[in-house]
């Protein structure tokens, strides 16, 4: 084995964890939330900072909380509160929506574990 061979093999081995992580060990954690409001406007928000977002809808204001790399509906003017019951979203591909207030949140990032979620 020549010196060049050794260098290339070492480079290849060094690359393995990256390739494994990227292509085989599909990571689920999300890093971005896509929020759609009643008018269809889209907001892309990173999940790496703690903050609260207030999104206007036909019923009032939906409050979204971002903390620890995840997002949830914290407060909602709808009656059923099913958006709040959806809890935290942190895995790529998950989403929650307040249909009465026409606000939806989907989280994504990295390589999603799933192409689509059935529920």
């Amino acid at each position: 084995m020549t010196r060049a061979d050794i260098i290339v093999v070492a480079f290849t081995l060094a690359l393995l964890p990256f390739l494994y992580g990227t292509f085989w060990n599909r990571q689920g954690p999300a890093d971005t939330a896509l929020i759609i409001d009643e008018s269809g406007r889209e907001f892309s928000v990173p999940l790496d900072s703690g903050q609260q977002l207030r999104i206007d809808g036909p019923l009032g204001v939906s409050v979204l909380e971002i903390a620890d790399g995840r997002i949830r509906f914290l407060d909602s003017p709808c009656r059923g509160k099913q958006c709040i019951h959806s809890g935290w979203l942190d895995e790529s591909g998950e989403f929650a929506a307040c249909l009465p207030n026409r606000v939806s949140v989907a989280v994504s990032g990295g390589e999603p574990l799933y192409d689509s979620i059935n529920f």
Binding site: L16, L19, T22, F95, L99, S116
Partner: protein
């Protein structure tokens, strides 16, 4: 030698990662829910046209079949309630015939004729009023003369009813029908690899490049995923769950899937998942199987011709058909207790 070591990795990276423009995922609100269209192997302009086509089609269906906002369906219901006939166009007749057939095969557990009962429970609204469940006497009054789809008479192009209480509500079926129509539109545009997901229920055709489309099935007790399934060719994955729409009154939870036998929300099964080719059948079957519950689901599955079924009960016990068991991989740290049973 070094090249031999590097090449497989480069080949791997090429085969596993399509160029970014090959995978398009677009979300929009339609059918009163969030719709996601995933496309693979389509260029950007074609993808944009495809999404527009799907959105237009879903909006058209939503306006036609809305159960409580002015629509073709509310016109039909008004005519039938007045004892009149209604002249329907061929697509409307085809859809109602399909609903009638599925209702018949489900033993009327999938019963789109009970719109009055659904309305009595307050579920014919975007945001149910903060109100108690209906009085037992009111439920029993409707049950005494409860319509089913056999009361809908389709003769030529005219619709009539033998029961004035018949009020159509296609909530357990319209989404499946809409997803089927959306997939047809995509195919007409030459798209062979796609998923149309309407509020969690989906039909997938083709594949994601070299690998199948991978679907996560949501855990009925959390926002996470309980299991995964890879679709094969052309399949719909539909789940009816008692967690989708509900209200709580005096500490009791009431969900939106009403059992036409009792007039109350179905009990015994928390979620019913069906994999089947067409979405309309999968949608109606998932509803009927959730209502049928642990005791009667087998017969309903047989009669509706669905062979891939998964039911989850309140204790998170899973019952699956052998064909479904071959497809589903659980992702929870502790796999649930599973019973495999022929339908």
């Amino acid at each position: 030698m070094a090249l031999v070591a590097v090449l497989p990795l480069l080949t791997l990276s090429c085969s596993e990662t399509p160029p970014p423009q090959q995978h398009h995922k677009t979300q929009f609100m339609a059918l009163g829910t969030l719709v996601t269209v995933s496309l693979w192997g389509v260029d950007e302009d074609d993808a944009a046209e495809a999404v527009r086509t799907v959105e237009d089609e879903l909006n058209r269906i939503h306006k036609t079949w809305h159960a409580w906002q002015p629509s073709t369906l509310t016109e039909i219901n008004a005519a039938l309630a007045a004892g009149k006939t209604y002249s329907a166009d061929p697509p409307t007749l085809a859809l109602l015939r399909k609903a009638q057939d599925l209702a018949h095969r489900s033993g009327q557990l999938f019963d789109p004729a009970i719109g009055k009962l659904v309305a009595l429970w307050g579920f014919q609204s975007d945001d149910r009023p903060d109100a108690p469940p209906p009085a037992r006497a009111d439920i029993e009054r409707l049950l005494a003369n409860l319509p089913d789809m056999n009361d809908l008479v389709i003769s030529g192009d005219s619709l009539s009813s033998t029961n004035r209480d018949l009020k159509l509500d296609l909530g357990g079926f319209a989404k499946g029908y809409a997803v089927d129509q959306a997939i047809e539109r995509l195919r007409a545009l030459g798209i062979d690899n796609a998923i149309v997901n309407a509020g969690g229920d989906l039909r997938a055709i083709g594949a994601h490049g070299e690998r199948p489309w991978r679907i996560g099935i949501r855990d009925p007790q959390s926002a996470g995923v309980i299991a995964t399934v890879d679709t094969q060719g052309d399949e719909s994955v539909f789940t009816s769950g008692n967690y989708e729409r509900f209200f709580t009154w005096d500490g009791v939870r009431y969900h939106h899937i009403i059992d036409p036998r009792t007039g109350y929300p179905a009990t015994g099964t928390v979620s019913a998942t069906v994999i089947h080719r067409d979405a309309s059948t999968a949608d109606a079957a998932a509803t009927a199987l959730l209502i049928a519950g642990p005791g009667k689901w087998r017969r309903v599955a047989r009669d509706m011709g669905v062979t891939q079924v998964m039911l989850i009960d309140e204790d998170m016990h899973v019952t699956m058909t052998p064909e479904m068991e071959q497809r589903v991989y659980f992702r929870t740290e502790t796999p649930p207790q599973v019973t495999v049973s022929e339908p």
